[in-house]
Amino acid sequence: MSETTLDQTPQSDAREGVASSDRRKFLRKSVALAATGAATAAAGNAYGDVKLETVTEPLEIGSTRHILGRGVVSVPYGMPSKFEKDVVRRNVSWLTADTVASISFTPWQDLHGIITPNGLHFERHHAGAVDVDPETHQLVIHGMVDKPMVFSMEDLKRMPSHTAIHFLECPANGAMEWRGVQMNSMQFTHGMMSCSEWTGVKLTDLMEYVGVDPKSTWLYAEGTDGSALQRSIPMEGAKDQFGEPLPAESCEMYKDAMIAYAQNGEALRPENGYPIRFLLPGCEANMSIKWLRRIKFVDKPLVTYQETRHYIEPLPDGTIRQFSLVNEANSVINYPCPDYQMKGKGAYEIRGIAWSGRGKVAHVDVSVDGGKNWQEAELVEPVLSKCVTKFKLPFEWTGGEHLIMSRVTDETGYVQPTLMQLREVRGFNSIYHKNSIQAWKIEKTGEVKNVQIENF
């Protein structure tokens, strides 16, 4: 543990409020702040006082200039540039016994938007990814319905379609950091979350078609992989196995659900449930059952393996929390982050991502002094419900130490908590839903490190 004296200046004064709602005002102000800084510098210009190198060697002609490149369709399904070979999903080998019941992480440190490219969507399997033939795959809907029905893939594609951009987040995102700092990489602290455009059939449309009994308070979805993963999903009036009602917000989540067959405009990837998956936006991603084969409408929860042993939260008062379904608001700075070093003094743009299972992101505030002072960041359009929102804020690095962090407030007014606040109520053993404010430390050397702040 060390006590740190921090540089408090994001651009000139951290306390200077910035109205992010008015983008033009924001830009004018940023320039003005930069100019103020420059005025005090000896050799300053409008852009600041960092002395630039000058190139005097004549430029070389690049090796691609005098050759012919590849023809069209030489790569029938396009791949990223070979120079991007390190932008891949990764796993943590010691986390699970094998890679079949395991998880991989999205490299958000290398992504620039809100959409996760399909090959980089995080994976979580309980019995491995399977190849399901769309020609023979069927979806059964039954239980408390007027008409038990079965649908082919063709049937589903004929139906009215629904498209929306939503994140999916494993409740274990960040879990390795509960007890203390562990992973010096943004990929591993926040990579169990991905965000895609999904297309499919709305669950509520299908419910109307098969005629769901209004007395049905739960449904469950089941996959056709080796684990035949199944999760109970509450609807209005849902009670747990002891007769206690579930939180009202959890009982509303099914209204946004869909049976998805497309991800970012193309068919789902096998790792993400091809040919169809359940998609329950805003809830822990294991409920979005992959390789979906069956939905049954019932009037009580199953209390499956996932619901009584796995995605549960042992608490310090000696109770075990169940059915903690909603992903609460979370955010993180993905530039700068521990996966990369600072490249010299001067201008940077702090960028990050924020999301909430309860709706839209309302504000993101950024601190560069360990949470003492905050400045509102600009939200980048689109700002959508249960979807990743990008934020940004200009930053001048003068070579000092900084503790940088972001804090999201969602449209319900919920403010992202600190780790200490979470630990106070949930102790050290609750594993899941760790959505606390993430601090990165910028060292004088330019190194960026994952840290926790014990008195914040």
């Binding site: 990764r90 449309d205 499956t304 042992p314 075990i320 059915f323 949470g371 905050w374 403010v415």
Partner: protein
């Protein structure tokens, strides 16, 4: 070059020809449900082979039974290599037996590590869904291949390892729901939000930040 036999010219002709025969009747149908004629009805009987989910209270348990004794042999042959002869875990695979309930709860209260300890004897609230999980998902290398009676027997053996049932117990669709699982009464349903942070903008605290940072693991490849 193209495997498609159509030329631009051919396409144009085809489209023109089709236009002649088109009717606009379907387009503006006023009460279009969007679902007319889609899918098939199916009987619950036809769904039966898929309708395998067992509820916590034993609803939908298949008819059958298996004793603790009958479970030993299949357990040793098909489970022990990953879960250990006594459920203690093997080769990095999950343990099925963790700290007994009183010790588990004590660890939670004292902030000791309980995470890796979650298991049949301290986290599973209901025996019927333990049967469901074993029948559908295990043995891991060949999921869902055990018969009903064998699954009851192995479930029974596991429950006995956890000292949850006696060694002469017989698990069946009639007895499983009444098995007292040690963890059952410790469960409470979600009460979040359980923290209430404020959107403080300046001078949020006084002392210097106490920074802990011992991260060692970087990007792996």
């Amino acid at each position: 070059m193209s495997k498609l036999k159509t030329s631009k010219f051919g396409l144009g002709l085809a489209a023109g020809a089709m236009a002649l025969g088109l009717s606009t009747a379907g387009i503006a149908a006023e009460h279009a449900s969007g679902f007319n004629g889609i899918g098939k009805n199916i009987t619950e009987k036809a769904i039966e082979p898929w309708d395998i989910s067992v509820f916590y209270d034993g609803t939908n348990l298949p008819k059958g039974s298996g004793s603790v004794q009958a479970g030993q042999e299949p357990y040793d042959a098909q489970c022990a290599m990953c879960h250990g002869a006594f459920g203690e875990g093997a080769n990095g695979y999950p343990k099925m037996m963790g700290d007994p309930m009183p010790q588990f709860i004590k660890s939670l209260k004292q902030g000791l590590d309980g995470v890796g300890n979650r298991a049949v004897n301290n986290a599973w609230g209901h025996a019927p869904t333990l049967f469901d999980m074993i029948k559908r998902h295990m043995p891991f290398y060949a999921p869902g291949t055990m018969g009903v009676d064998e699954s009851y027997a192995v479930t029974c053996y596991v429950l006995n390892l956890g000292m949850i049932v006696d060694s002469d117990f017989v698990c069946s669709d009639e007895t499983l729901a009444d098995v007292d699982m040690p963890a059952r009464d410790y469960y409470v349903t979600d009460t979040r939000p359980d923290v209430n942070n404020q959107r403080c903008m300046s001078d949020c605290y006084d002392e210097a930040p106490k920074v802990v940072g011992a991260a060692v693991t970087g990007v792996s490849q």
